[in-house]
Amino acid sequence: MARDFLDIKKGLPVIGVGLGLRREIADETFNHANEIDWLEFVPENYMRLGGMAKERLETALGQFPLVSHGVNLSIGSTDELSDQYLSELKQVLDRANAPWWSDHLCFTSIGGAYMHDLLPLPFTKEAVRHIADRIKRVQDYIERPFLIENISFYMNMPGAEMTDAQFMTEILETADCGLLLDVNNVYVNSVNHNFDACDYLNQIPLDRTVQMHVAGHKRIGEYVIDTHGAPLIEPVYELLNYVLERTTVHGVLLERDQNFPAFDELVAELKMIRAVAQKTQPGLASPTHRAASRTLEPKRPAAANSLPAKGGRDLRALSA
């Protein structure tokens, strides 16, 4: 991908306000298509899988634009990139026709073993060079625009040569990729590591933001943990607004992965997000692809056989 990412961003669709595709709320999601502009799926839950997972993805594809947000690219690992992973990821992205794809600025594997969590990186020049090179390689292989997401982190890794904001900035600009900006993670980190969230946002290249995440968190002991299992709080809405006042954003996602409330509560949160977006980016609040098709969607009957929960949640999340 030889073009400058900021040029690429201009050509990406504005997809509006979306929700995570989660097994536990899939039927209700499909029955509320009128309230949701797009869905984000975790590709590892659909790569080379059949049965209900495949059917769920196909149903989603028939009703929504889909965007992929992975958890095991392990872009920061010193292991070699996995050819198998990239090949299978590419297949599912091609099937979903995702306008962009994303993963986390972290490592999830070392020595060939996956830890299945988003683990923090040391803020070093070596890490910047290593990760930027890998981002370029995966972006070229997948042939779709790639966004890296800022994670919440609960410890400082040894050997830091720069701040979190500097680290993110150098990676984005050296790799020339996009940003998936999670403002709940910014908030959580600002509390846990005692810095001003807006200062962080002022230091990173916000114009590389293509997509945003908003989510809830929970205080557990002395930490605030990014659980994706609680309602959004006002400071997170404020950070969303702060970013939308400063750069065009093509999609905002409500991330809810566990402790699901009544679906109407999620719909209410989507409306709140839309209301924030409406103030500065009306096209984001009411994207053209949904405005044209925003008729009453016929309700699908709930699945006659809800499968018992077996296997991990789509994303690891701490609940206490």
């Binding site: 059949g50 969590d117 609960y154 077996k310």
Partner: protein, 279 residues
């Protein structure tokens, strides 16, 4: 300054290895544990101790959570020994696949090799684990199940020209123990009496309509019929097999039983229709 690789390797060891972590976070008396021998001193000195504990807890929680969701019966049976068993399993069989559920895949193998005293008390444990895993495996198997129409076999021409289509997700497990009954007892919360071996053949598959993982206890004849039917074969060609396996029955009774079995297998979704064989 430690390299990126050294940082990642060292921190992952501290997050995953309890002994190493306890040495670091404790009084650090005694020699450095072998797993920490190559960790740069600067890391051991600078490391964020609270952060190590927090991430160790997050990782352990996530791993235990998924293991318990896949192996609820085994977890219930092992009770207080479950967490340590999971830790030891993951230390010996670190997850090598990007899919989170696959972390659980080799637990039966682990129990067979390393079950030790657990197997003395619960000799069926590896088979119970296999039974619990295979349900998920079948649910997720990357294969399409395409059912075709089946008409009840009422004419000799149908029996001679048509043959069954076997569900492509089907596996037949030959268990030494009656795993279905054992799991039912555990699920009901009843205490297991000393379990004696009792050979049980179990068909495991994904239901073609509901996508649920399904099990059916089957007899020797059904197991052989299903196995032969994985290659194109007419119902007529299966009849001699049935008759030879049921010498205690009158041949006409065997045929009648066979036809009933075919309908049962179609109903269950083990057969997913019938197809014309040959011309």
């Amino acid at each position: 300054m430690p390299s990126l690789h050294e940082v990642e390797k060292s921190l992952s060891t501290l997050w995953l290895n309890k002994d190493a972590r306890q040495w670091l976070l404790g009084s650090r008396k005694g020699p450095v544990p072998e797993v920490l021998a190559n960790v740069p001193v600067e890391i051991l000195r600078q490391v964020d101790r609270k952060g190590i504990e927090l991430y160790a807890g997050l990782l352990s929680f996530g791993h235990n959570d998924v293991m318990e969701s896949v192996y609820p019966f085994t977890a219930r049976l092992l009770g207080k020994k479950w967490p340590a068993t999971v830790d030891d399993y993951l230390a010996k069989f670190p997850p090598e696949h990007y899919n989170f559920n696959r972390l659980c895949k080799r637990f039966s193998e682990y129990l067979t090799i390393h079950g030790g005293s657990l197997l003395e008390k619960y000799p069926f444990l590896p088979e119970l684990a296999d039974y619990e895993w295979i349900e998920l495996e079948k649910m997720e198997e990357d294969v399409d199940i395409i059912s075709v129409p089946h008409e009840q076999l009422t004419t000799t021409q149908q029996i001679a020209s048509f043959g069954p289509i076997v569900n492509p997700t089907l596996s037949v497990r030959d268990y030494k123990f009656d795993i279905l009954s054992i799991s039912a007892e555990i699920e009901a919360g009843r205490k297991l009496a000393k379990v004696k071996p009792e050979r049980t053949l179990v068909a495991a598959y994904r239901h073609p309509k509901t996508h649920a993982g399904k099990f059916a206890q089957i007899g020797e004849a059904a197991a052989q019929i299903v196995e032969i039917s994985k290659s194109p074969v007419t119902y007529q060609a299966l009849l001699p097999v049935v008759v030879s396996l049921t010498p205690q029955l009158d041949p006409q009774e065997s045929v009648a039983d066979f036809l009933e079995l075919v309908e049962d297998l179609q109903e269950l979704g083990i057969f997913i229709g019938s197809t014309q064989i040959g011309n």
